[in-house]
Symmetry: C2
Subunit: 116 residues, 2 copies
DNA sequence: GCACATTGCGCAATAA
DNA sequence: GTTATTGCGCAATGTG
């Protein structure tokens, strides 16, 4: 659109009724602009805060995963150690522990082995 | 600061040397303003993207925690079931399993029990 | 046809 | 001295 630089002469009841209605409209728009810009800055700040929140949650979750993984590793080792030393040769409650514990089977459904 | 609205008359070599140097300066500043605003918008977009990345990582980590917790729960149950049925009454490789497995001991240092 | 909201843009102040 | 950033007003445009 052509950036028309103010029409000094009043052609009539167009965009520039010299000072009365025009000024009022300009002032109201200037206020609206300020409101809009304040809101915009708030949103930006909130987004930045959100990033920090998420980073923190993330760190906590990573620690949790680390801890759980360590714990799990320990139990599996203990388990296998016992199983390989036991009389029944790596069978434990009918479960093939070597196979069961070898991988980290994140996808696996353990409910098959679950007791009631 | 007083928002001086252009000095039409040239008082001398001040801020408004009527058109030559002034116009050049204005044009260069206008370009700088555009660059600055583009950069600003990019940053905003990047921050929004960052939020999404973090949300995704978060979801993945939460799933991982869930899976690991489930797996751990299963192993502990299996472990305890065996221990309580075994002849040595809840002793397993010299470790008090009941005590060891009762909690989720996130803080605990398992290295004490670690084999070489 | 309004009225407010959002946006691109230029100006001037001022930070760097 | 220069560019970068920022507050501000204007006008166009979007939205309802």
């Amino acid at each position: 659109m052509p950036r028309q630089g103010r029409t000094p002469k009043k052609d009539g009841p167009e965009s520039g009724e010299d000072s009365d209605e025009y000024r009022k409209r300009r002032d109201r728009n200037n206020l609206a602009v300020k409101r809009s810009r304040v809101k915009s800055k708030q949103k930006t700040q909130e987004t930045l805060s959100r990033v920090n929140e998420l980073k923190n949650e993330n760190t906590i979750l990573e620690e949790k995963v680390k801890t759980l993984t360590k714990e799990l590793g320990f139990l599996k080792e203990l388990f296998l150690a016992h199983a390989s030393n036991s009389a029944d040769k790596s069978k434990f409650e009918g479960v093939d522990l070597q196979k069961l514990l070898q991988d980290n089977s994140s996808e696996e459904d353990f409910s098959l082995y679950k007791r009631e």
